[in-house]
Symmetry: C2
């Protein structure tokens, strides 16, 4: 099925070279696609790594291995296979991943554990070892490629290529952060969602890199949802080559650490937004901001209850400021809420205040807001100081067409 480019797509940004990172792509021909499907990132010696992974109880071998590998905090290479997720494939799937790790480690003269592998695509088909071997061989010998080529190659049902960039000052040293991501369906929150890779030339200890990534993830990738369905393969990895020459960051006491986290969060947020913008069938980008909750986590859960509600998402698709459905979604979240303190706004226009419809509610400006591609829903619970923003897309005929017709 040929998918139309999302109306919410953004152009691929300018991402400068990141010292210590070399990107290459090749054809492993996992599917009959006429395109590259294997991505290889070679990382300088001394690169540190951190990761967040799906909380699925049925993860792929790649996720199981990756969770162990990040504990050592060292990386020399990343391989991403597109077109086959290698999930639910038992020992045969695991053998394929270990073969790739060994093949790359042999070439680079590093340990297997420094080679990270991700796979994305169909579930239940073991990654074919012969195709993987030839694909990796071709990638190891290929010419370096651009960020955009690498971002395109990790994609599957994505309708546009997704990347983000930020820079920060650590002391007198300017550092760069570049990231790429893929994903548009089977996107749900509460964990690292989809495949995302962030590269920086900053020098950072593995433990502190993990702390920064976990924090950034909590407010970005863990705050998006397309369809409430959580992939078996979700992975976000951050690699720091240390080539920028800054004094290594090891804690928030270090000068520049806050700036680094802010830049990392910017990149993660943009990547997360891009996934929502490519949500299957998406016509509108929806930001749900919850304030006045009992705490931030409660606000996030309520926000996701709204963002995952098919009745809210179809209402937005139809341009209907149906705040009754928002009340419903708040009520079902299982979090503290008081019906008679609840206020709801669309695009900054309050439709309900303190548990009652606003008396002089004018639907015209709300209707106009809902005609646009960017929709804001605000909910104030009137209970406490907790707040969160989550992002999702509307639920349209396009989602049904893609998922009822797409045969794996």
């Amino acid at each position: 099925m040929d998918l139309e480019r999302s109306p919410l797509a953004r152009p691929f940004p300018d991402i400068p070279p990141i010292a210590g990172v070399t990107l290459r792509v090749a054809r492993a021909r996992y599917k009959t696609w006429d395109r590259c499907d294997l991505t290889y990132a070679e990382l300088a010696e001394g690169t540190t790594v951190a990761g967040v992974f799906t909380r699925s109880a049925c993860p792929s071998s790649e996720v199981e291995l990756g969770r162990e590998q990040v504990k050592a905090g060292r990386a020399r290479a990343l391989i991403v296979n597109a077109g086959n997720s290698n999930a639910f494939t038992g020992y045969r799937g695991r053998e394929a991943v270990e073969q790739i790790m060994a093949q790359v480690a042999d070439k680079l003269g590093c340990t297997k554990e420094e080679v990270f592998v991700s796979s994305t695509g169909v579930i239940g088909v073991p990654l074919p070892k012969d195709k993987a071997r030839e694909g990796v061989e071709a990638a190891l010998g290929a010419q370096p490629c651009s960020w955009e080529e690498a971002a395109h190659t990790i994609g599957t049902t994505d309708t546009f290529t997704k990347g983000a960039h930020a820079s920060a000052m650590i002391g007198d040293t300017r550092i760069e952060i570049g990231g790429i991501v893929k994903g548009s369906g089977m996107i749900a929150p509460d964990m690292a969602t989809m495949l995302g890779y962030v590269f920086t030339d900053a020098a950072i200890s593995p433990a502190f890199l993990q702390e920064c990534l976990s924090r950034a993830n909590r407010e970005t990738f863990s705050c998006i949802t397309v369809d409430s369905d959580t992939s078996t393969s979700d992975t976000v990895l951050a690699f720091a080559t240390g080539k920028a020459g800054n004094a290594q960051l090891t804690s928030f006491e270090d000068p520049g650490a806050d700036a680094f986290l802010a830049a990392l969060r910017d990149v993660c947020r943009e990547l997360a937004h891009l996934v929502v913008r490519d949500g299957e069938g998406a016509q509108k980008f929806i930001a749900v901001t919850v304030t006045g909750a009992s705490d931030d986590e409660s606000a996030r859960i309520i926000g996701l209850s709204i963002a995952n509600s098919p009745l809210v998402k179809t209402a937005i698709a139809g341009g209907d400021a149906n705040w009754g459905r928002v009340v419903m979604a708040v009520g079902k979240a299982g979090e503290p809420a008081d019906r008679d303190r609840l206020s709801i706004a669309f695009g900054g226009h309050w439709a309900a205040r303190d548990g009652q419809p606003v008396a002089d509610y004018d639907e015209a400006p709300v209707a106009k807001h809902l005609q646009g591609q960017e929709v804001d829903i605000s909910v104030d619970l009137g209970l406490g100081e907790g707040r969160a923003t989550v992002w999702t897309c509307d639920l349209t005929h396009g989602y049904i067409s893609i998922n009822a017709d797409y045969r794996s």
Copy 2:
């Protein structure tokens, strides 16, 4: 919007008169519908009552009052308003409900607390007191009507009228149980879902009636989902008039108590299935059976994770035996699961066993099964003895059309 009758509809059953229950309907004209929209069930003196209600944190006044009323265990009347849920309407909504209670109590010479009120329809519009008063007045003076008329009158977006019947022997006394229900969207599990009313002529103590209803609910209404969205008004009430003349049931020690529970469960299961069969846009009725879970509740949660997954539901809509999506839904449920023990079947044909695709898997009989209107998905976790069956429908373009176009 005129909705087509669900292809999964069933004819309204023969429900005999239940001694002590008199049904009447009238026009309150809450909406511009050219139909009755107010249902009145008059109940004999001595009728006991039990109820289960939504767990929404933002329930309607009807639900708040009903929760209190069932504690006393006595009922003389039920009023159901269709076309206005009276939810999220603050003190004005509550006043309307109390007015109805007083009006009926005055007529019957009972206490207000013996008059139960439910409302279903649009959220956020206070129930108009004048229309309610005139409608109740008309109903109090109307001729008795049939079960089918009453069932039709409580409906809103339902595309067919829903009822169920069972009988049981308590000692030498035959008792009848009749039930009606409405609902097709905003249907989610984990509580009494939608509006359902069960009437019996059996004599049962209020406490034991509550125990039986709660048990039946757990395996029926709490095991269905259309769209994972939980209404603010969900209510199931059971009324026992005691007119059959059996020795009053007060515990499972009493002869006939098990038979009564079995018959009550049959009625509740059928009513629950009818709601799924009228699920918005439904083309297929899906039963998900989970076995081998660590316990029954874990099996139910995993079953609902599968039944709520838009990717599973769209796959079934498309006739695609996409068991990878079932693996995903098991994995995201947050319950114990072991990828390498997981087995999945469609229509009794195993597609995956012990965490791997079945080697000689023949898709032809599975594809044939998925062409039908009744789809069975079986998941065995291989961990323990826990089991549950949950029911849902597929997710189709019809759901989007109904909910993106329907304006409240």
